[in-house]
Symmetry: C2
Subunit: 147 residues, 2 copies
């Protein structure tokens, strides 16, 4: 990050993620299993433009939220995956979705997953997190108390 | 809100709040007890410009997140207060702050309050929420199960 406007924790998160697109790209990698430029572009419910997508992928990779790995055997094809750091944005995305479900009248179809997650409680959240870990090549965390 | 890019719950929250300043204005009303234009301008740790602040106050008021009331006996003086809807952004701001505390190296002094809130758990959160309610003229919520 360039020199921040202030060192307030809320501001640092806003400067990193509050640009109108970064959180949507992370949402798509996290919840829609989109990992290539093509998938993220054609699958975007908001119709993200290619230059915007390229810029945000670059920014998120540089910030340590995504990794960028060539796909073996596919010249020019690259897989974007969430890092452990990005996984810690799961509660932020959930809190934003919960606010929307309550106040912003989301599309029922696009909101079905968020609603399911909210109603399923901590167990369902753990299930979804484990699935996200597998899809992004992240190891299962050690159970608390394990050596 | 104008016609959203999509009805996805995360996107609706991003469109409402992901503009780089709205969440900081709400943070200052919520956690720093700033309620007038002057307080919000001179107290801003990020040095928000007056035209930006005026624009965001207008937007947040129109969106039902702030109320705007003349201060009796002070011509031209206006108090901005959080609505019940805005109070539901408390968990979003907390989740963002928690992410920052863990990954973005905030200024220790500016992060002290967020850290205290995080370490204090649900009891401390309830205390702070009750204080925010009083400062914004919002009634205490009825205890669950009350008639």
């Amino acid at each position: 990050m360039e020199r921040p406007r202030s060192g307030c924790p809320v501001n640092l998160a806003v400067e990193l993620l509050g640009d109108g697109w970064s959180l949507l790209v992370l949402r798509d990698v996290m919840f829609a299993d989109r990992h290539t430029f093509g998938e993220l572009h054609t699958g975007s419910p908001e119709g993200i433009a290619t230059n915007m997508l390229a810029d945000r992928l670059h920014k998120l990779t540089r910030a340590g939220l995504l990794t960028r790995e060539p796909v073996p055997g596919h010249k020019q094809k690259v897989h974007y995956r969430l890092t452990e750091t990005a996984l810690d944005l799961f509660p932020v995305l959930l809190a934003m979705a919960a606010f929307s479900l309550r106040h912003l009248h989301p599309d029922p179809e696009l909101a079905a997953f968020a609603r399911d997650l909210q109603e399923g409680g901590p167990e369902r959240e753990a299930e979804v997190l484990a699935r996200i870990r597998r899809a992004n090549g992240l190891a299962e965390p050690r159970p608390a108390g394990a050596a």
